[in-house]
Symmetry: C2
Subunit: 367 residues, 2 copies
Amino acid sequence: MPLTVRTSQKQVVPIGSYTPESGQRIETVEVAVETVGTLTPEKDNAVLVCHALTGDSHAVGKEGDSGWWDGLIGPGGYIDTNRYFVITMNVLGGCDGTTGPSSVNPATGQPYGSQFPFITIRDMVHVQRLCLDRLGVSSLHAVIGGSMGGMMVLEWGVLYPDRVGKLIPIATAAALSPTAIAYNDVGRQAILSDPDFCEGDYYPGPGPVKGLSIARMMGMITYRTAELFEKRFSRNLQDYGGSQRSSESVFQIESYLRYQGRKLVNRFDANTYLRLLKAMDTHDIGRGRGGKEKALRLIQSPVLVIGIREDMLFPIQQQRELHDGLFRMNKSSRLVEISSEYGHDAFLVDFKQTGREIESFLSKDLL
Amino acid sequence: MPLTVRTSQKQVVPIGSYTPESGQRIETVEVAVETVGTLTPEKDNAVLVCHALTGDSHAVGKEGDSGWWDGLIGPGGYIDTNRYFVITMNVLGGCDGTTGPSSVNPATGQPYGSQFPFITIRDMVHVQRLCLDRLGVSSLHAVIGGSMGGMMVLEWGVLYPDRVGKLIPIATAAALSPTAIAYNDVGRQAILSDPDFCEGDYYPGPGPVKGLSIARMMGMITYRTAELFEKRFSRNLQDYGGSQRSSESVFQIESYLRYQGRKLVNRFDANTYLRLLKAMDTHDIGRGRGGKEKALRLIQSPVLVIGIREDMLFPIQQQRELHDGLFRMNKSSRLVEISSEYGHDAFLVDFKQTGREIESFLSKDLL
């Protein structure tokens, strides 16, 4: 077991061409990767982290530039980087270094834009596997991820059962509910309706700033809970320091959401947002496999299913069904339910309830 | 008691000028009114119906042209038009005959558009009262309404306790929750961001068709429940009869919501939508009255509070708080809770559970 703590390493890994399920080959795919910790000589300590819709490869980061999951992962953390070699990749179609709609299409010298193909959760996983090959990591101790990342975790278990040791899907689903699809479509329509979207070919312009911002506002409501909004904002008005007519008064909840919308636009690409929404909507672990049950049968790894009771986007019932399904098949599955006013976003912030479970699941000999 | 069933009568009642709370006088206000049934010589059988956000005065209608509450109101119905004289008015700021942003401003000869003032729920109620004066109806046997209409019902009890006999607020709140305000703001931003909104001065053009349509999609999700969407649409794809690439495939839930969006645009004005959203957001029964408790003390009428347990926009807790508050003050209040997969919209469709309660409440001697 190496004891040297290395800070996170960033790299871009070229994996050659890749042909997504939809059929149109993407040449020269690159994958943005963050690694933290040291791979053992036996190469048996790699943990792959899968990010959610607006996530990226910056899961752990370093001092002064912490990543989105640094509360969970780090030296001495629940996922201990003194022990595990933690790998996070930006997904195919992303906008943080992995080839996506804003990348230059070598065939035209222009960004792909509208020409970037439709991709699936399975494509994302295949690309992760190709990237791991390049990194010399042939098997994974575990795969972990929440929300869209959790969809990838389950696909890992089905597509590559012989390459993955343990699975930790969090706040996710075998397939999205129609209500979650509905929320996604509100965001999608806001982006598509924005005249600055230009059918997806808006580069080098900023693109559909207003549409993407509305999509983010929509998302943020579903990521949290009414209880949290009540506690944080209640019906308080935003104080802009001047007098306002009541017709112009803005509630703090509105101000907060609009700010979140503007903030996302500065770091995220609208075409990527659309591709990933569609990948989530169309994802169904049972597709082409004779249904969900038959798909889950392919999983060989122990599974730690984590669900949040207040999650309105991935209702706890979906985690229970997942666990019950695996359990009925005599698979090794453990269900952990937590309660959090953060709702769906609890997987990003609330580690007190899940950290020990994850730590213990990763270290136990379960088979 | 008159036994002649009269079909619904439509009229537009001029009530002169009205100055809303925000201060800018509106000249020559007209109110679109539907009446059904016959006013007794004693004028003691009038029931006022208050509509919701996208409602209008067409509550009962007639054969072949039924209104939005004809399942509740009609000859022999739960609200029996053989017995009651039922009055429904389009609200101030509306777009179905009552003066609103799309009405012509006599000072300019052009539609008000952006110049139409900010209005409140209390303004809507004051205008209803002025209209009733013109109709010669000085007191109401009851006022009933759901959602925004329920806000008006409660205001009736506070503003005009000596004019109203009974109150039936349904699926409503003393003040909107921050989460409901958040949903409203997603719709609002979609309208404001649409370039065809033209700052509200889009007449005679169709206006922000895309923005209003998205706002409606947003609303529809919150009016129903995940259970209903699962049952009706599940993850089924819309069949357009041709072959489609999976990137273009559309789920039935998406198709349904987009259709609902387009449908509203054909019958509703975006400026009205914005004015009514803001009236709902800013409504607080305790405003200027020393708080909610003191406001509720002003109510003298028996109240039948009806709430829907699955309502995500006006959570059942709000109905319970309303009832508990009145009950603690020794007011006559009865709480009826129903369960419905229709969620918030149950007040428009599910009369089996509420109809008898309403019927009985209207006919009983309660004081």
